[in-house]
């Protein structure tokens, strides 16, 4: 799951970068940026952090 989280975070970054070549529209680029940031945050906070929490120190004992 950690790798999935890392990949999602990277994918969220690459989305607006590649959107630069796909469209000239400021609105569409704005949408790609927001979507990319959300994907990255889901990867980090939703997937990666959850994977770390599964074996958190306060759950062990």
């Amino acid at each position: 799951m950690r790798i999935v989280g890392v990949l999602l975070a990277l994918a969220g970054w690459l989305l607006p970068v590649f959107a630069l070549s796909v469209t000239q529209s400021t609105g569409a680029r704005f949408g790609a940026c927001v979507l990319g940031i959300i994907i990255s945050l889901v990867g980090i906070l939703g997937v990666l952090n959850k994977a770390h929490q599964e074996n958190a120190i306060w759950k062990r004992s």
């Binding site: 630069l20 704005f30 940031i37 990666l48 958190a56 759950k59 004992s61």
Partner: protein
């Protein structure tokens, strides 16, 4: 007749003197009122040795400027009117005497000297922020970890400096080209780039390793190195707060060197070193490209994202969460040094933001006054926002969160400080003050990520807010040499008519969250696998001062034993 002849002779003599003095340079501006002392009257156009060209190498009659005599100077100058005159301008050839070329060179060097001194002194202020960070972080930790926390803050300066000298500066600034405000650095002109979508994407610089390679042995480059180094070190010291009280010292050393050598310089190159984020404006028409005046993103978010990655890997302190996942308060041991540290940081921020003009003379650099006031205001409204939020929510004005509110406002104004007006600065600050409180609660209670000092919220969350706020509040009045990131005109945000600037800023946010976090996470994951990031439970419960550092921070204090629940959680 006699009178007229005498007058004509006088006029001829005056003209001849002016010719000798080589003052024909002023012929093009005959209407301009010359300064009373230093500059003699303009000469007629026909007096020029070549039409329109100044006689730069003709000796000047400096007596015309009436410099004070040695006798006059010997009497002292209590009014300050005789010190610093034409007599203090150095002639290149003492036999020839002072020429217009000497004056012009002196004027140019004075401008650069002012900018050197300004940038160096503001850099020294930023360096002193390390003391502020050390006090804030140590005060917010428990007394049993005081030596360890202080020593992380102390040595991060050395580890970071070493890494930045070896390769960090080269990666960051090795391709930026000449610094217009510092008059040099032309040798740092080699940027490794790739071509994507038909456009050049600058990735890292390749000149300046060890500050000797590729023209880095240069006075202007040294000024830039010092200023950029203390910025980089600020980013590094953010991480030590988030990972405090459980970070193995050896892992801290390796992680800090890595961050100073690669993580920070890479993003800083993209934003400040002529990299691909800076050229989003010239390459893709997105405003003035990613614009981060003093580093909300480059410094604070990079530190905050790395702090988040490390806090996830290292896990919470023993006893921070009960078995049901409920967070337990772990108050710091000295709120007095916490708030003292906050004041030191606020003082140092006057170096951070106004110093980022890299100039006090020319190129619109007098905006330093506006930047300083913006900095002051946002810090103030940041602490207002935090104190009001805590007072309304919990019934008391929380001291540590008030301090964090001040820092949050300062972090948030760092990127927009050079582009916004005072109303924008005040709004940015108050939003940051509230945001830091909400973010601390979210990270602690929902994410269950332990951050003893609130560094992720102060620097990470509010660094991102600062980057976004440039795209909203930049009012289009700044003018740093007529262009920014190679795009003519002033940086202008959404509220002042340029929505594309906001898109450039959001791409920067996406890069910080998506790339910088991931890069830091993978690096620290590897370090964790190789040497281990976390101390043993026994060491953590004992406090890290003796197991890690070999000496207590407060050897004469009787430390309060941990509650039984905390001890049990470490078993």
């Amino acid at each position: 007749m006699k009178f007229r002849d005498r007058r004509n002779r006088c006029l001829c003599m005056a003209l001849a003197m002016l010719l000798l003095c080589g003052l024909s340079v002023f012929a093009q501006a005959p209407a301009a009122e010359p300064p009373a002392q230093a500059v003699p009257a303009p000469a007629p156009a026909q007096a020029s040795p070549a039409a329109g060209a100044p006689a730069m190498d003709v000796p000047l009659d400096i007596k015309a400027a009436a410099p004070p005599s040695t006798d006059e100077l010997a009497k002292g100058d209590p009014g300050g009117t005789k010190t610093g005159t034409v007599g203090d301008v150095v002639a290149a050839d003492s036999k020839k005497g002072l020429t217009l070329a000497d004056l012009a060179n002196q004027a140019g060097q004075n401008r650069i000297a002012i900018n050197f001194v300004w940038t160096l002194i503001t850099g020294f202020l930023v360096m002193f922020m390390q003391a502020g960070f050390a006090l804030v972080e140590t005060g917010l930790c428990r007394a049993k970890n005081a030596n360890h926390t202080m020593m992380m803050n102390f040595m991060v300066y050395g580890f970071g400096l070493f890494a930045f000298w070896v390769c960090g500066f080269a990666i960051q600034m090795g391709g930026v080209g000449p610094y217009t405000t510092l008059g040099g650095g032309a040798g740092l002109n080699s940027e490794y780039s790739i071509t994507l979508f038909g456009k050049s994407f600058g990735l890292w610089g390749t000149h300046g390793f060890f500050m000797t390679h590729g023209g880095a042995y240069d006075v202007a480059a040294m000024v830039m190195f010092l200023f950029q180094m203390v910025f980089m070190d600020t980013a590094l010291t953010i991480v030590t707060g988030a990972a405090a009280e459980r970070w193995k010292y050896a892992a801290f050393a390796v992680s800090s060197v890595f961050m100073g050598a690669l993580t920070y310089p890479l993003f800083a190159n993209w934003a400040w070193g002529g990299g691909w984020l800076a050229t989003l404006g010239s390459n893709f028409g997105l405003g003035h490209g990613y614009s981060d005046f003093a580093g909300s993103g480059v410094v604070h978010s990079v530190g905050g994202m790395t702090a988040l990655a490390l806090s996830m890997i290292i896990g919470p302190r023993i006893g921070k969460y009960s078995r049901s996942g409920k967070p337990n308060p772990m108050p710091g041991h000295d709120i007095v040094i916490v708030l003292t540290g906050c004041f030191i940081l606020a003082f140092g921020w006057f170096g951070f933001n106004p110093g980022s003009t890299l100039a006090a003379s020319g190129n619109g650099a007098l905006r330093i006054s506006s930047i300083a006031v913006n900095t002051m205001l946002a810090g103030c409204t940041g602490s207002f926002g935090a104190i009001l939020y805590m007072w309304m929510r919990y019934g008391k004005p929380d001291a540590s969160m008030s301090g964090n509110g001040l820092l949050a406002g300062l972090v948030a104004i760092t990127a927009p400080s050079g582009f916004v007006n005072t109303v924008g600065a005040a709004i940015i600050g108050v939003v940051a003050g509230v945001l830091v409180c909400v973010s601390v609660e979210f990270i602690e209670r929902v994410l269950k990520v332990d951050d003893p000092v609130g560094a992720i919220s102060v620097h990470g969350t509010n660094g991102l807010w600062g980057v976004i706020s440039v795209g909203l509040f930049a009012d289009g009045t700044s003018n740093y040499g007529g262009s920014w990131n190679g795009v003519n005109g002033s940086v202008t945000g959404l509220f002042y008519g340029d929505p594309s600037q906001l898109v450039a800023q959001l791409i920067g946010v996406g890069t910080l969250v998506g790339f910088v976090f991931t890069f830091s996470y993978v690096a620290n994951w590897l370090i964790d696998g190789i040497i281990g990031q976390r101390v043993s439970a026994a060491d953590e419960l004992a406090g890290l001062d003796i197991p890690e550092m070999g000496a207590l921070g407060y050897p004469e204090f009787v430390l309060k034993p941990e509650p039984e629940a905390v001890m049990a959680a470490g078993d």
